[in-house]
Amino acid sequence: MIRIVRKEDTVGLRAWAVRAGAILAALAASVLLVLLMGYDPIRTFGAMLQGAFGTEYGRINTIIMAVALAMTALAVSVAFSMKFWNIGAEGQILMGAFAATAAARVLPEGTPPVLLVLACLLAGLAGGAAWALVPGLFRIYLGTNETLFTLMMNYIAIKFVVLLRCLAWKDPAANGFPVIAEIPAGAFLPPVLGVHAGWILAVLLAVATYYFLRSTKLGYEIRVVGESERTARYAGMDVRRVVVTGVLVSGAMAGLTGAVKLMGVAHTLSETVAGGDGFTAIIIAWLANLSAPGIVVASVLFAALKQGTLAMEIVGSPPSLSDVIKGLILMAALSTEFFLRYRIAVERRDAHATAVHPPAGPGQAEGGPSAEAGAPAEEGG
């Protein structure tokens, strides 16, 4: 019979060795799979590495993807730290992108690019925050379940953008195609070192989130509320205020991500701007155990994996194979966290088989025959 048993946590260097080992094992399994399917593993994995890091195009795409994932994962990590299950980052990204587009459309032509960019980013912050505030208020005043609520808000956001694209903001110059006009070029995020400036924001956001949760009063309150609302009240915290502020911060960060994706990559608002990052970010946040530096690392690796498997498909391996490899690696990473805390105990049906008789030899010396040890009271000292 096989059972799961709690063990002492593995920590420190050993834990990292286990993690690295798991990824290597997943890669080894992938190599076997590639061989079985009749492809050349060196060519396939070479293409994967080459695709993710080897070419300038690959590197840029990896980083662009990582920026969006990291910013979103940081956003949800703030909400998750207070056990507010914000599954609505997807919608908050879209509403941030919507608000940024609105700002770009409203501001008069000839606004200096610096002002335009700043205005769009701020609008993004506000858009995401407002979208997250709705489920936040419902939760604290009516006790609704935020998981379902934030999830539903995603679909509302998507349909809202479709509505804009097909009706209100439909570009008259697009020959009848239901698309929204590009935002003015002045609102584009300028490239820095080859990639749009959003990466600088992502790095700043990671540092800020780290210090926010660790060293500010609000961050501390968020962590206490996440642990126990009763303790928070006992310590004199206004739990409602903390939840609302935390939700606003989380939503605003997701909204900022939306603005960055719009201004750096898409340049035109559509319902595909978020592209599932709001959901992938949840996996990343947990993979990194909600730690900001961990999120940055996990995002880059995840983006590289995605970009690399894309390149594999270009050299001829089927998309299903790259999906399987992605899955293997992700599963290895996630299950490692499990095995650092639990172990699998295999036991025989007959429990008495576990009672082993002592081996003959020096081990016996300290014990002595049991009859003696059972003799009348040992005197204590």
Binding site: R6, G236, P358, E366, A371, A373, A377
Partner: protein
């Protein structure tokens, strides 16, 4: 010398071989050596006490015996056979039953469902048989358990009987009880002892963990004392005294008297008038409670569990809003003020609920982060003052001798006594004018308890008014100046602790007042 067991008939072997023999057990957690070469032997048919201060390695040893931890070194023999536990199930199947301090029962289910759960007998046909067996055990050992009663409707004593039935049902003849009396009333404790004695007569071996020496002396046959992870020795109860046991535990002679400094002269601090608190269903949890508390005075609060102590503490801390009445602190009514305003006024509550980590502390955070829980907001700016929190944490750890690898250790990994020291240390550090403390020494060993009494007296001398909600009547009478007795949410008496006797308070606790008839409903179903 190879070990060959002599061929003997089973009865003879049972007589000679001890039930449990743990030899040379060592276990380290990181740099902390929790057990070092521990030797622990329990005979068949005896009640054996395991004594030791908090952090002396008792829990580790018992976790090894129940298969939760694997020892780094040493051997375990059960009934003469060497065994190796790979998991708790191995230990259960070899007849060891752990009864934990915190009940692990499913409240909406009945006693027999709880007992049979996980054995495969909870389903269909065997269900009636399971109930029958439970009835048998209950009758045999005199346990007041109805197999069809839901756990949620049971008293604490009944719940504990269900826990014991659970391990008996799984065939345990070696029982380990971890502080079983901590949550029981005096009557329930007597009943438990009767059950345990009957089990001993039937040949069961019982390991009894408790900090209350008079219980150990009353119930047990032999005692093994641990100190700092090592065995100090095993003695017969018949030939020892409480003082001698304490000496073995602490390593030196200890003065067991609690001092009582005179009441300070700084005048009144707190006046409670007609305080009434109702729960969501409109049932009065506190009913017209009135009392006064002066600076430099310790007012004890006695009562059976659930008599309104929690509501009284939480009302003063601003966590519960009373329906009527006034709480005057320095003649200002604090009813309706927020917990933070009350903290700022200098009212401090170190409430230690049954679940120690439930409210006073943030379990996953380290000591330093927990130390700033109450005062982080009292300084300006939006950043935390981590530096001063660290210094404070270090000084509290040093002053109260909290045993921990560092102030960055998560509190959930500390032992119960150390957890309570962290809470009390933090509250005292706020230099309160009024200190409300509930069950401050619950689960603490003697040494730690006395440290806490001294700390409270130190505060008293500084003129702090102290409301001390306690359980141990002897301590209440020795430590406090006056004792207020609650029963069913009402004050049944406030007595002078210098002149009152335990029996007097015991009667008041059950609602028998000198001049009035028993209030309707008071104390009902609680004893």
């Amino acid at each position: 010398m190879p070990y060959v067991h002599p061929e003997q008939d089973p009865a003879e072997r049972r007589r000679i071989d001890p039930a449990i023999e743990m030899e040379g057990i060592s276990k380290a957690f990181g740099s902390v050596q929790a057990n070092r070469d521990v030797r622990f032997t329990v005979r068949h048919g005896e009640i054996h006490a395991l004594l030791g201060e908090n952090g002396s390695g008792k829990s580790t040893l018992m976790n090894i015996l129940s298969g939760i931890y694997q020892p780094d070194a040493g051997t375990i023999r059960l009934r003469g056979r060497e065994v190796v536990f790979r998991s708790p199930r191995d230990s259960i199947e070899l007849g060891i039953g752990m009864v934990h301090q915190h009940f692990k029962l499913v409240e909406p289910m009945t006693a027999s469902e709880n007992v049979a759960m996980g054995t495969g007998d909870g389903l269909s046909r065997s269900r009636a048989k399971a109930a029958e067996r439970i009835r048998d055990y209950a009758a045999r050992f005199g346990m007041p358990v109805d197999p069809d009663k839901k756990v949620a409707d049971m008293s604490v004593g009944e719940k504990q009987s269900v826990e014991i039935l659970k391990v008996l049902y799984r065939g345990a003849d070696i029982l380990v009880l971890d502080e079983p009396t901590a949550v029981l009333t005096p009557q329930e404790i007597e009943h438990l002892f009767a059950i345990l004695r009957r089990m001993r007569e039937e040949g069961a071996s019982i390991v009894f963990i408790s900090h209350k020496l008079h219980e150990v002396l009353d119930l047990c046959d032999r005692v093994t004392v641990l100190r700092k992870g090592e065995t100090v020795g095993t003695v017969d109860v018949a030939g020892t005294t409480a003082l001698r046991l304490i000496e073995m535990m602490v390593g030196r002679a200890v003065d067991l008297s609690i001092e009582r400094p005179p009441v300070g002269a700084d005048g009144p601090c707190l006046s409670v008038r007609g305080l009434t608190v109702r729960d969501a269903l409109g049932v009065a949890k506190l009913d017209g409670v009135s009392f006064d508390l002066a600076h430099g005075e310790i007012l004890g609060v006695a009562g059976l569990a659930g008599s309104g102590q929690k509501e009284l503490c939480e009302s003063i801390a601003g966590l519960v809003h009373p329906q009527s009445g006034a709480i005057l602190f320095h003649e200002r009514d604090i009813v309706g003020r927020s917990p933070r305003e009350i903290i700022r006024m200098g009212i401090s509550m170190s409430f230690i609920p049954e679940d120690r980590l439930g409210m006073g502390l943030v379990a996953s955070m380290d000591i330093a982060d927990n130390i700033m829980l109450k005062d982080y907001a009292l300084y300006g700016g939006f950043l935390l003052d981590r530096g001063s929190a660290r210094r404070k944490a270090q000084s509290i750890v040093d002053r109260l001798a909290i045993s921990t690898p560092s102030i960055f250790h998560p509190v959930r990994k500390l032992s119960g006594g150390n957890i309570q020291k962290v809470i009390l240390g933090r509250e005292i550090d706020l230099s309160p004018k009024l200190l409300v403390t509930a069950y401050a020494v619950r689960g603490l060993d003697i040494h730690s308890s006395y440290t806490i009494y001294h700390l409270l007296n130190e505060q008293k001398r500084k003129g702090v008014a102290i409301l001390y909600v306690g359980e141990d009547l002897d301590v209440l009478l020795e430590l406090c100046d006056r004792v207020m007795v609650l029963c069913g949410g009402r004050v049944t008496g406030i007595v002078d602790a210098r002149t009152s006797r335990k029996e007097e308070i015991g009667l008041l606790m059950t609602g028998v007042t000198g001049d009035a008839p028993v209030p309707a409903g008071a104390g009902e179903g609680k004893a």
